[in-house]
Symmetry: C2
Subunit: 458 residues, 2 copies
């Protein structure tokens, strides 16, 4: 019999997170205070984050120990399995060897709990009583609800109104774990009330939901805020995936030629690829790390590298990022987790330094890939995950054209059980291609009024 799953024992769950800052040839630039354009200090984040996470955010240490309590919760689903995609290889008739790390085994069904559990732990330790956050598609809100439940923390999730109405199952999942889910804009916050006064029927947006969640955290001393991607500490927490994958690829007796992950804010991609980049830095390997973004939101492949806000309203510090501008509104594709205007600072610097690659995939190609994958492998991927599948299929087809073996590893970051309506839209022919014109891109970029990155950083 052919081995399908390469598994690890619970005592092989990583004992530390990998902080890539220690190995980056050019360190990421500091975030700036938007008012003064001076670098912000840790104290600026203290009203909404616990100090332990702020320290991780600015840490230069290569390795950050994972608390035993966090590793204990990780045992509920980690180590996650690494699959050899025998079915997909056969369907593509390719000489490539395709592997995928499957993160859909977590209770919330994606990689998001890897950081949610860590964030809930440090907040609990700091005496915080409640965490607020925003959620669009619902993956992140679910993960944080699960994590807060474990530590007995309250969890208040501001869910974009239109998602709240369209995805009742995601909301119910959060309720089942005890979270309060509030359709945003809501009358609970100043920001929400202001929007509702002008637009009582507002469908909401991630920007508005962030504002509501941050306002609640900033105004209530017992309440903190939590973010599911973009920030350095979030990306670092996700490196448990890549560290496990390295051990699993070793057990399989192969080294990947290319490591692929879908790209929204960067945590999925960073989590799998950073430990492999470490092999490039420390061992002189030449593993290609490839981020896949949707053509409808192509900040990595068509955006600019400059300071920008992390949210769309302009409440956050200025972050050095590849961006399409914080006012950019991507098309309403079903991969809600990838509809984000910018990339985290770590990933942006690495891309700028040409240490990683990026490509864009249209949603039609992504669903074609997802359905092919589901029929060949069984697992039905989340719409976000389909972007990684699509890139893996491109690589496997190239290998076939070349007639050469290629070892491909991608992150199957979540299942699609709560996204079947997206498949319905695909099957019924309702989906459109979203190729942006150069004029669209130029116009988005010309609206950016935040500071440029100093030349010395290049």
């Amino acid at each position: 019999m052919k081995q399908t799953k390469i598994t690890l024992e619970e005592n092989e769950i990583p004992e530390r997170w990998y902080n890539i800052v220690a190995d980056m040839p050019n360190k990421p630039l500091p975030p700036l205070n938007p008012a003064t354009q001076e670098p912000i200090g840790p104290e600026a984040l203290a009203p909404i984050f616990p100090m332990a996470l702020i320290e991780q955010e600015v840490s230069q240490d290569r390795w950050i120990p994972i608390p035993e309590e966090v590793r204990q919760i990780y045992t509920s689903w980690r180590p996650s399995p690494l699959y050899r995609a025998h079915g997909l290889e056969k369907a593509l008739d390719t000489p490539a060897h395709i592997y995928y790390k499957y993160e859909g085994v977590s209770p919330a069904g994606s990689h998001k709990p890897n950081t949610a559990v860590a964030q809930a732990f440090y907040n609990k330790q700091a005496g915080v009583k409640r965490i607020t956050t925003e959620t669009g598609a619902g993956q992140w809100g679910s993960a944080l609800s699960y994590a807060c439940q474990h530590f007995g923390l309250g969890c208040e999730v501001y869910m974009v109104r239109i998602s709240y109405d369209q995805k009742p199952y995601r909301k119910l999942m959060m309720n089942t774990w005890g979270a309060e889910v509030i359709p945003s804009p809501s009358p609970q916050t100043e920001a929400g009330r202001k929007i509702l006064a002008e637009h009582p029927d507002s469908p909401g947006s991630l920007g508005i939901a962030i504002s509501e969640a941050m306002e609640r955290a900033a105004t209530d001393p017992d309440t903190n805020y939590s973010l599911g991607s973009v920030l350095n500490h979030v990306l670092t927490h996700q490196t448990v995936m890549g560290q496990e994958a390295i051990k699993q690829m070793e057990k399989a007796g192969e080294l990947p030629d290319v490591v692929i992950a879908p790209f929204g804010g960067g945590s999925n991609f960073a989590g799998l690829s950073f430990p492999f980049l470490r092999m490039n830095f420390a061992e002189g390997q030449n593993i290609r790390c490839l981020a896949t973004e949707p053509t409808s939101c192509p900040k990595l492949t068509r955006g600019v590298f400059r300071y920008d806000f992390g949210d769309s309203i302009g409440m956050t510090p200025l972050i050095p990022m590849y961006t399409l501008g914080h006012n950019f509104v991507p098309a309403k594709i079903h991969a809600g987790g990838l509809r984000y205007h910018g990339a985290g600072a770590l990933v942006s610097q690495l891309l700028h330094d040409k240490l990683i690659d990026a490509e864009a995939v249209d949603q039609i190609e992504s669903f074609e890939a997802g359905v092919l994958f589901a029929r060949a492998e069984g697992i039905i991927p989340a719409p976000e995950a389909n972007h990684g599948v699509a890139s893996a299929i491109r690589e496997a087809k190239e290998a076939k054209e070349e007639g050469k073996k290629r070892v491909i590893l991608f992150n199957l970051c979540g299942h699609g059980h709560f996204d079947m309506s997206a498949y319905e839209a695909y099957f019924s022919g309702e989906l459109h291609r979203h190729e942006l014109s150069q004029q669209d891109i130029d116009s988005a970029i010309s609206e950016i009024d935040t500071p440029e990155i100093p030349d010395t950083a290049a």
Copy 2:
């Protein structure tokens, strides 16, 4: 760190299914031809089942080899993990040790693919082109769709109209795997047309859907029919679960005092418990095997042991079963997979011989148990699975009252990702208790007009 998951390697997937008939002190009585009331021969089943499965249905062999192709597909999710329920034990503050076998890791999200894959394999081998089946809640239809897709077989699922309308995500899951899903009653069959002529708005029923699927199989030589529970070969296929669990309990260094599983037609319960019953038969162990049924459909605890039809229309052979009568219509509880009037022949004989136990749980208790479980363990169980959780909690509470350790193993047979609306109904207080009066039971049983079981079988 405490170990949470006890896992096995792929080469530990069982190599044979366990056929309990070989060890039963009283063999199950043969099914009867309803017209002649004579035992039917294998040839009666040949129009709708492949010969390999008919042979398994009547086999007296203790062990049936699992074909390598089937074991190869099993590697996509098997061996499934055994969990130690640390979170639940803590929540209950019990001296009991609670373990659960988690079958939600299969692509279709339940234990059903264990037999679906085997059935699709033997049909493919026999040159069949298409399989029909019925589905209510959708678990079985999903599993068969997945299995047929793998072998390139067509799959036609007659889905009870009301479920088709209420559970669009289940339908889409089947579509994603390439199956055709037809709301039943349908104009595609004689049976469906007859119903529609009288009731154009019929919500359908499992009985009607079975009639439609069987008619299609009986009238098309390229098409066979497939059943997801009740029959001997189906129960036998599921014994991979119990065989794995025995190895995993050995690794954990414990032997269960009680083995628990939810009960619909019997495959879930048989799959986990039969290999443990083998330990009772062959090694003189005294492991209690406990089936949990809903109070709204209590055939094991309040039904009668006699011949009855497997379907509600009377198309099947007469099967010796604990039954409430094939015309019994249980309340519309959300655990659709447990709304079946009878129990398979093997399980019925074992219950009659007092070799297994049964108890009934109300749906309110089952959802209370499911929500407690989800908050303590993370995984959100299917409504069917919640019945097993409820019995496990009862056992753990008893152990606490006694102040004694008790080792409890139950089957967490599937996740609830496609059943969140059931949780919504629970949270919103819409669910009712369904305790049947003795009059209800007497009335149902008095309507049964099928033959009694001869006394000599007792």
